[in-house]
């Protein structure tokens, strides 16, 4: 509750900057149009027109808000023209990919921490894998998966997974190695098995790292889902909206899809934050 005023202040500041930028960026077009039609614009007219363009360089906030209202609230959630429908499509791939990615990242991290061969050989290649531009190979992945009969949600989720497992690996390797020497020594004196050491010491000690990583992984996963939507023929989902918007120069549509995606990400990341708070509280660490 006490966050409301600060958040509103910041949002207000952003809106002011946004309206200002809209004037600056869209001015050129309005002036050009006026020149073509031999009109002379007063300053208020100029400003008003920069905020009411059809295909502005930067749409004004209220234009985006109107579009959002139109596509979120005024359409049936199941309709193809509803942003809710597209957000839902993207979210399913995001969440599935995030789940898979977190599992994979987790498994790799455990392997790296516990297995010398993996520690030495896998990590450099995990890193290399992340330097491959996903947008370049996403189409190939989709094609290959399609060829072997996998289509629909899973190919997109695979790309999400590809992007989201990495932060989890990096964070978890660090986290699983964060217990100090004495705590590990204790486990040794009790002759704890590796599994016991893992569940009772390394895992709890890695929790702060895990959550920080999962937040990043979730954001990455959403990017992956959107990237994955492009080469699937961009039939549905926020990625498809972005793409379609860009082919037809519909900046307002792009921005509303963008804000929807950000809202989705914020909600998902916020959810992880909530789980984090609950977990750490229950662990007595908050």
């Amino acid at each position: 509750m006490k966050n409301v005023i600060p958040v509103l202040t910041v949002v207000l500041a952003i809106l002011v900057i946004w309206y200002g930028s809209a004037v600056m960026l869209n001015k050129q077009w309005v002036l050009d149009q006026a020149a073509r039609q031999d009109r002379v614009l007063t300053t208020p007219e100029l400003i008003a027109e920069t905020w009411a363009q059809d295909k502005p360089k930067l749409p004004a906030p209220h234009q985006v808000a109107l579009e959002l209202w139109d596509t979120v609230a005024m359409k049936k959630p199941t309709s193809k023209r509803s942003l809710v429908y597209h957000a839902w499509v993207t979210m399913s791939a995001t969440v599935l990919g995030f789940g898979l990615g977190t599992l994979l990242g987790f498994a790799l991290a455990v392997g790296i921490v516990y297995n010398r061969v993996m520690d030495k050989s896998v990590m450099p290649w995990v890193i290399a894998s992340q330097t491959i531009p996903i947008l370049a190979i996403a189409p190939m992945i989709i094609v290959v998966l399609n060829a072997i009969g996998i289509s629909g949600l899973l190919p997109k989720a695979m790309i999400s997974m590809y992007l989201s497992f990495f932060p989890v690996v990096v964070g978890m390797v660090k986290g699983l190695r964060s217990p100090d020497a004495m705590q590990l020594d204790q486990m040794r004196t009790w002759s704890a098995t590796r599994a016991q050491e893992f569940w009772r010491l390394r895992l709890p000690a890695s929790m702060p790292y895990l959550f920080a990583s999962m937040k990043i992984a979730m954001a990455a996963s959403l990017v992956g889902a959107i990237v994955g939507e492009l080469p699937t023929g961009a039939v549905a989902g926020l990625g498809a909206r972005l793409l379609a918007g860009s082919y037809y120069g519909q900046t307002i549509q792009i921005w509303s899809a963008l804000l929807m995606a950000a809202a989705l990400a914020a909600a998902l990341v916020g959810l992880i934050g909530l789980i984090q708070r609950i977990t750490l509280k229950r662990m007595g660490m908050a």
């Binding site: 020594d185 004196t189 009790w190 000690a205």
Partner: protein
């Protein structure tokens, strides 16, 4: 004088079977600015049921020696045998209960949870776990604090919780690194008595690091005096005190004599005075 005595006591063959034997032990820590010799030519035999105190100036290698026994550190040279097998085997057979110098409780577990931890690991049943936790909590006078988290406890209470944790399961060999350092005299006396009673009851072998000369003398059957840089054993004193030890024994002449010998040994290890 000291060395003669040391030689004499080393020569006297212990009557009981040997539990821990160290021979020609050396340990060198490699640090970025040169090696640190923490243990040098250490020889020691500890019999079954012995209560051995280690005393010596800070930094002389007491902790290091305990760590070697518990297979937490690998000696640079020399051999250690525990129950006739290398420490690693003994460790895997769960021969040790170790109380570390710092409490080292896990911050995400309550006091009860911390004490329960080794029991879970060793596979005790749930009711048995609960019963043992209760028993040791009472032993160290922390009953009622089971549900608190470590940071909600005072320093001494944390230390007691860590002692409780090591006592909760039945290790043959107890390695205790200054367990009573942060406790007041009264609790300390109380726990000394409790520890002696436990020891008498169970025939455990106990290695005990302390800085208190009276405590060392009161508790031990054998007192090992060490000197620093490099860490060596300068004296091993077999205590003539009987197994039954009321607190009053601390005023007896034998007691004071041993205490005196320990103090002299300690002083010799210090550069000043």
């Amino acid at each position: 004088m000291m060395t003669e005595q040391a030689a004499a006591s080393a020569a006297s063959v212990p009557q009981t079977p040997t539990v821990i034997s160290a021979q020609g032990l050396n340990l060198v820590y490699e640090t970025s600015d040169g090696p640190v010799q923490a243990l040098k030519d250490v020889d020691l035999k500890i019999g079954k049921g012995d209560f051995v105190s280690f005393i010596g100036p800070s930094g002389c290698g007491k902790t290091t020696f305990l760590r070697v026994m518990a297979d937490l550190e690998t000696p640079t040279s020399g051999t250690v045998l525990v129950n006739g097998v290398p420490p690693e085997v003994a460790r895997k057979a769960r021969a040790y209960g170790y109380v570390f110098q710092a409490a080292g409780l896990y911050p995400w577990r309550t006091i009860g949870g911390n004490i329960r931890l080794p029991l879970e690991i060793m596979g005790y049943s749930k009711p048995e776990q609960a019963e043992r936790v209760q028993r040791v909590l009472e032993l160290v006078e922390l009953a009622g604090f089971e549900k608190k988290y470590p940071w909600q406890l005072s320093g001494g209470m944390q230390q007691r919780a860590s002692i409780a944790r090591a006592l909760a399961f039945d290790a043959d060999i107890l390695l205790m690194d200054e367990p009573f350092g942060a406790l007041d005299e009264i609790v300390r006396d109380h726990l000394n008595e409790q520890l002696l009673a436990l020891w008498a009851r169970t025939e455990k072998t106990i290695c005990f690091v302390t800085h208190s000369i009276p405590e060392a003398v009161y508790l031990s059957t054998k007192i090992v005096v060490m000197s620093p840089r490099p860490g060596r054993i300068t004296d091993v004193i077999e205590s003539p005190l009987p197994k039954e030890r009321p607190l009053e024994i601390r005023d007896s002449p034998e007691f004071l004599e041993i205490a005196h010998r320990v103090r002299e040994g300690l002083r010799a290890g210090h550069a000043y005075d």
